[in-house]
C-alpha cells in the first residue's frame, strides 16, 4: 500500500527565471484524493509559493484545468490512484501563455467567447405581457448537450490547430455558438455564421477530434463544429443560388 506519491510540478517564476523548471514534492497518498487535493497539500504545508487556480473542487466551475502526465484534465476529477506509483507530472494547460506556475493567461478565450455572441439574440423582444418563450423537451434536447460547457478550456489545450494557429476561434466557442444557434428562442444564426465562417472560424478545424475526447462534460465540440460546417456550406450555396432570400 503506497504511503506517498511524488508530484513533479512545472514551476515558473518570471521574476527569477526565464524558463519553467520542474520541482518535486512528496505528497501523502490517500485513496480518495485527487490531484487538486495534492496541490492544496503542497500549498498548505510544503510550499506556499505554488500558484494555481481552483474553485468548486467538484467539476462544475472549470477553473482547475491542468496538464497531468501530458493530458489536459480537471485536477479536481483526477484521482491520485490512477497515477500510482507516480511520479505525476503536473504542468499548466498547453497552448496558453503561462503567467506564473500553473496559472495561464486566458483573455484570448474570453475574447473569442464574446465574439460568438453567447446570448439569445432576438430581432424583436417579446413584451412581457406575451408571456414566456415556449420550448418543448425535444427542442431543449437539440442544444442541451452544448449547454453543458463549463469553459474549462481543456479542449483548447487538446486542439493542435489552436496550438498552431492561436487565432483559431476554437472548440468551446463554436460549441457555445451552436448552443444558441440550435435554441429555438434564438434568432441570431446569420450573425454568428458571419463571424464563424470567415478566416480563423470553423473551417480552420480539421476534425482531429481531441477536443471531444478530453471534454469532461461530454459536450462533443467536434460534433458541433462538423454540424456547423454542413450548415455553413448549405448556407453558402443557398446565398449563391437564391440570393433574394434572407
Amino acid at each position: 500500500m503506497a504511503t506517498n506519491i511524488t508530484l513533479e510540478v512545472l514551476r515558473y517564476r518570471p521574476e527569477e527565471e526565464s524558463e519553467p523548471v520542474y520541482q518535486s514534492y512528496e505528497v501523502p497518498y490517500q485513496k480518495d484524493w485527487v490531484i487538486l487535493d495534492a496541490l492544496n497539500y503542497i500549498k498548505d504545508t510544503l510550499d506556499g509559493t505554488l500558484s494555481y487556480r481552483w474553485s468548486c473542487r467538484m467539476g462544475v466551475c472549470g477553473s482547475c484545468g491542468m496538464m497531468v502526465n501530458g493530458a489536459p484534465e480537471l485536477t479536481c476529477a483526477s484521482f491520485l490512484e490512477k497515477y500510482l506509483p507516480g511520479p505525476v507530472r503536473v504542468e499548466p494547460l498547453v497552448n496558453f501563455p503561462v503567467i506564473r506556475d500553473l496559472v495561464i493567461e486566458m483573455s484570448d478565450f474570453m475574447e473569442k467567447l464574446k465574439r460568438v455572441s453567447p446570448w439569445i439574440i432576438r430581432e424583436q423582444e417579446k413584451p412581457l405581457s406575451d408571456g414566456e418563450y415556449l420550448q418543448t423537451p425535444a427542442e431543449l434536447g437539440d442544444y442541451e448537450q452544448f449547454s453543458m460547457c463549463i469553459n474549462c478550456m481543456l479542449c483548447y489545450a487538446a486542439c493542435p490547430v489552436y496550438g498552431l494557429e492561436p487565432t483559431f476561434v476554437g472548440p468551446a466557442a463554436i460549441a457555445i455558438a451552436q448552443r444558441y444557434n440550435l435554441d429555438n428562442r434564438d434568432q441570431g444564426n446569420k450573425q454568428r455564421l458571419e463571424v464563424l465562417s470567415e478566416d480563423n472560424g470553423i473551417f480552420e478545424c480539421t476534425l482531429v477530434g481531441e477536443c471531444s475526447v478530453v471534454c469532461p462534460k461530454d459536450v462533443d465540440p467536434a460534433g458541433a463544429i462538423q454540424r456547423y460546417k454542413v450548415v455553413a456550406a448549405a448556407t453558402w450555396w443557398k446565398s449563391l443560388l437564391m440570393p433574394w432570400g434572407r
Binding site: 493542435p160 490547430v161 498552431l164 494557429e165 458571419e194 465562417s197 470567415e198 478566416d199 472560424g201 473551417f203 480539421t206 460546417k229 454542413v230 455553413a232 456550406a233 448556407t235 453558402w236 450555396w237 446565398s239
Partner: protein, 115 residues
Amino acid sequence: MKRNIDPFWWGVFGAGGVISALVLPVLLFLNGLAIPLGWIGAPHYGDLLSFVKHPLARLFLFGVISLSLFHWAHRFRFTLYDGLQLKHLNELVAIICYGSATFVTLLAAYTLWSF
C-alpha cells in the same frame, strides 16, 4: 456579407470524401489488384469501351475523378499547413492544390467527352 470561399471548398471536400470512400476501394481492388494478378478475367475491350461510352457512365466517372481530386486538394492543403507549418506559403499551397485539381478535372472532362 463578405463571402468566404471556404464553405465551398469544404463542401466539395465532403462530397469527394463520400464518393471516394464508397466507390474507389472496389474499383482499385478490381482494376489495380484482382485483374492484373489474374484473380478474375479482364473485361473484353470492345464491351468495356461501349459501356464507358454511355453518357451516365461518363458522368459517373467524371464525378468520381473530379470530386476525388478536390477532396485531395482541400485535405492536402490543410495537412501541409498544419503538419509542416508552411504558413507563409499558405496562398501558394492553396493555388497549387486547387489549381491542379481543376487542371485534372478539365483533363478528365476532355478525356471523357472526346470519344
